[in-house]
């Protein structure tokens, strides 16, 4: 991406903040309910000076990244299993068809009962939500691998397992990373939701705590931060994608 197009990418963000500022200044909503972006920015800087606020950010980031990584490993492993034979494909697909449309948030109360109010229940919810897009993208990617690539490898002496792990999986890498991109966005949403529903720490908790105490400015700070977190992690994933897909035609 050129510098110009990077600058162009900042324009919509600037537009959004301007719109927000205009809405706040217009008086359509009472100031107490819709604070101006300047007031929120000032409060953000103030909060970033406090150590325990950083602890909330760290907690959310930890749950988000751990859940996402578990989803990445589990989703990919499931796709490999599914691509390995007709029997496993039928079995895994049946499992996915039942679980994928289920709102996983409905399982959250059960997870809290089993895993407690701490990190584990949130990480589990993030992982289970994010695993499906990764599974589906990886599975599709592996199914669409050029048959002749597999034949070329098998003729050179590759076993079925070797082919699965070292030909089909790398050939599906662009799909896997696209799935990871979707999963990352879902992870951001789910970790925030889980913290809003039941938590004593994390950015989602900061928001719900502020809302309960009618501190509207404090409600907007975690929203800004979770989107910044998503933006940062997304940029990291893009950089990783560029590195990993050096030789690929579409990269």
């Amino acid at each position: 991406m050129s510098r110009d197009s990077k600058l162009l990418g900042l324009l919509p963000i600037a537009g959004l903040i301007l719109l927000w500022g205009w809405l706040a200044a217009s008086g359509m909503a009472p100031k107490a309910l819709l604070p101006s972006p300047v007031a929120v920015a000032q409060r953000l800087v103030e909060l970033l000076g406090q150590g325990d606020f950083w602890a909330h950010i760290a907690t959310t980031l930890f749950r988000l990244v751990t859940g996402f990584l578990i989803a990445l490993v589990a989703g990919t492993a499931l796709a490999i299993l599914s691509a390995s034979s007709e029997v496993t494909q039928t079995a895994v697909n049946a499992f996915v068809r039942i679980l994928a449309p289920l709102p996983k948030i409905a399982l959250y109360p059960a997870m809290i009962l089993i895993l407690g109010f701490g990190h584990s229940s949130k990480i589990a919810l993030v992982a289970i939500e994010a695993a499906f897009p990764i599974y589906l993208a990886t599975y599709q990617g592996m199914r669409n691998v050029d048959q002749k690539l597999i034949w070329a490898a098998r003729s050179a002496g590759a076993s079925r397992l070797h082919c699965l792990l070292f030909v089909m999986l790398p050939a599906a890498a662009p799909s896997i990373l696209t799935g990871a991109r979707v999963a990352l966005v879902i992870s951001c949403i789910v970790v925030f939701l889980s913290e809003m529903m039941s938590s004593t720490e994390g950015l989602g908790y900061v928001l719900i705590d502020a809302a309960r105490n009618f501190r509207t400015i404090d409600m907007f700070v975690p929203i800004i931060l979770i989107s910044a977190l998503g933006l940062g992690l997304g940029a990291g994933l893009s950089a990783l994608r560029k590195r990993l897909l050096t030789g690929y035609p579409q990269a």
């Binding site: 050029d146 034949w151 003729s155 590759a158 897909l245 035609p249």
Partner: protein, 256 residues
């Protein structure tokens, strides 16, 4: 030696009907022979090649390689595809070294042999390039080197030069003949070009469609090594081409 006996292939079509793609194929190939298969689209020439490769199972009959029946792919038969089928995430050198690494050779050993093959196909300067950075002709040279690397006795070439421009195609034909003269592998070469088949082969197999079958086998009795520029003025070369083209036209007309 390849021996094919009463080989046939049936497919189920999307509508659920039985389709006979290949019917009662009988064929013998001697070691070191260069044989081309030519015929109209849908005559099953590629399917026949894939069955010899062990990629597609036979419905009836059998294929024997030195007396042993084909049950799956193996390093004694090396395929080269029109689509190159290179590993995008590996460099040119890693692509060529792939089969050698699978045979258990150490990395330096495999790469040394890969470099020899890279020189053979004239791409030593491109060892660290990725396939996407190469032209079509160069990609196919890499694919040929990757297959030659694990030293198969039989080369199965599926319209290998079909996607290349005329100039590149001529160069690769010449280089393939040079390599073949040197190593004398058995080559089974599927093509759409009659000229290419006559120029390269010891025998040309003409297939017909509906169902796919061998219609005629024509021995090409032109001296080797062959020079394309000389063949252009050779009456016999022209006659072979005219004869085979006439045959294919007749089979197509009969099928229509």
């Amino acid at each position: 030696m390849i021996a094919i006996e009463h080989l046939s292939k049936r497919f189920k079509t999307a509508a659920g009907k039985d389709h006979l793609a290949l019917s009662d194929i009988n064929l013998e190939l001697q070691s070191g022979e260069f044989v081309s298969i030519i015929g109209p689209s849908g005559c099953g020439k590629s399917t026949l090649l894939y069955m010899i490769g062990g990629f597609v199972p036979a419905s009836d009959g059998k294929i024997l390689i030195d007396g042993r029946p084909v049950t799956g792919p193996g390093p004694d038969r090396g395929p080269v595809f029109q689509e190159f089928a290179l590993f995008a995430w590996k460099t040119v050198l890693q692509n060529i070294a792939y089969g050698l690494r699978l045979q258990g050779k150490s990395k330096p050993e495999a790469e040394e042999r890969a470099r020899v093959l890279l020189r053979m196909v004239g791409l030593e300067r491109f060892a660290n390039f990725y396939p996407k950075e190469l032209s079509g002709g160069m990609k196919q040279r890499v694919a040929i080197a990757r297959t030659l690397a694990y030293n198969p006795e039989i080369l199965l070439m599926d319209e290998p030069f079909g996607a290349l421009d005329a100039h590149t195609r001529t160069h690769l034909q010449r280089d393939l003949l040079r390599i073949w003269e040197e190593h004398r592998k058995t080559v089974l070469f599927v093509t759409h070009s009659v000229e290419e088949a006559v120029y390269l082969s010891d025998r040309v197999i003409v297939m017909a469609a509906g169902p796919g079958r061998i219609a005629r086998i024509i021995p090409i009795e032109l001296e080797r090594p062959r020079q394309r520029s000389e063949l252009m003025f050779d009456r016999r070369y022209q006659e072979y081409i005219t004869e085979i083209e006439g045959m294919i036209d007749a089979f197509e007309a009969a099928a229509a």
